[in-house]
């Protein structure tokens, strides 16, 4: 059973627009929610992460919004640029010694010039 559901599968945005990617989780034990960015032929790289004690985290043009009661979180990319074109994965992990990441299925973002 998929534990982190991600949507949309693909997204096309004009340069300067806002890109929004959504994720929902089921496991209430998750307490760490990172977003990874993956360019073709490269491994995923951590973009931004949030813990459930805050509702929003912003780093530059990237913002995570977190809704604990709805068990949802989203990534907002402001002023999207062609260089942002990549696949984005949300993920989640639980407390404990293992701290393993469970990934969503990914969103392929294309920002048109």
């Amino acid at each position: 059973q998929q534990q982190v559901k991600q949507s949309p599968q693909s997204l096309i945005v004009q340069k300067g627009g806002i890109s929004i990617i959504n994720c929902a989780y089921e496991n209430t034990a998750f307490d760490y929610f990172p977003w990874y960015q993956q360019f073709p032929g490269k491994g995923p790289a951590l973009l931004i992460a949030i813990r459930p004690d805050v509702s929003e985290k912003k780093e530059g043009r990237f913002t995570i919004s977190f809704n604990k009661s709805a068990k949802q979180f989203s990534l907002h990319i402001m002023d999207s640029q062609p260089g942002d074109s990549a696949t984005y994965f949300c993920a989640a992990s639980t407390k404990g010694s293992a701290r393993q990441l469970t990934f969503g299925s990914g969103t392929q973002l294309t920002v048109l010039p």
């Binding site: 982190v4 995923p44 994965f89 969503g104």
Partner: protein, 113 residues
């Protein structure tokens, strides 16, 4: 600082053949992960090591996959015999300790024909 190194980057084998992938994590990182990423999907954890011990291998198909990290540094992942459905990118990742940021290598692309 050098990143996670993986080799080979690309491998094409016939079904029922064997293949091995090598990973050298970031220096000083005690935790090492192997993920499988099938095209169009998010990475799925295969095995997690803490130093030279296995933390979790519950999702590793042990009838054909094996992994080791004998000296607590580099690691190898072996598949024998390979099946068509093993075609994927095998990502190695490492972190200083569980719960710290996970850094991914560029992956080893496997095609089984």
């Amino acid at each position: 600082e050098a990143g996670v190194a993986q080799s080979p980057r690309y491998k094409i084998i016939e079904k029922r053949q064997s293949v091995a992938f090598w990973c050298n994590p970031i220096s000083g990182h005690a935790t090492l992960y192997w993920y499988q990423q099938i095209l169009g999907q998010g990475p799925k954890l295969l095995i997690q090591f803490q130093n030279n011990g296995v933390v979790d291998d519950s999702q590793l198909p042990k009838d054909r996959f094996s992994a080791e990290r004998l000296k607590g540094v580099d690691s190898t992942l072996k598949i024998q015999p390979a099946k068509l459905e093993d075609s994927a990118v095998y990502l190695c990742a490492s972190s200083l300790q569980p719960g710290n940021t996970i850094y991914f290598g560029e992956g080893s692309w496997l095609t089984v024909v």
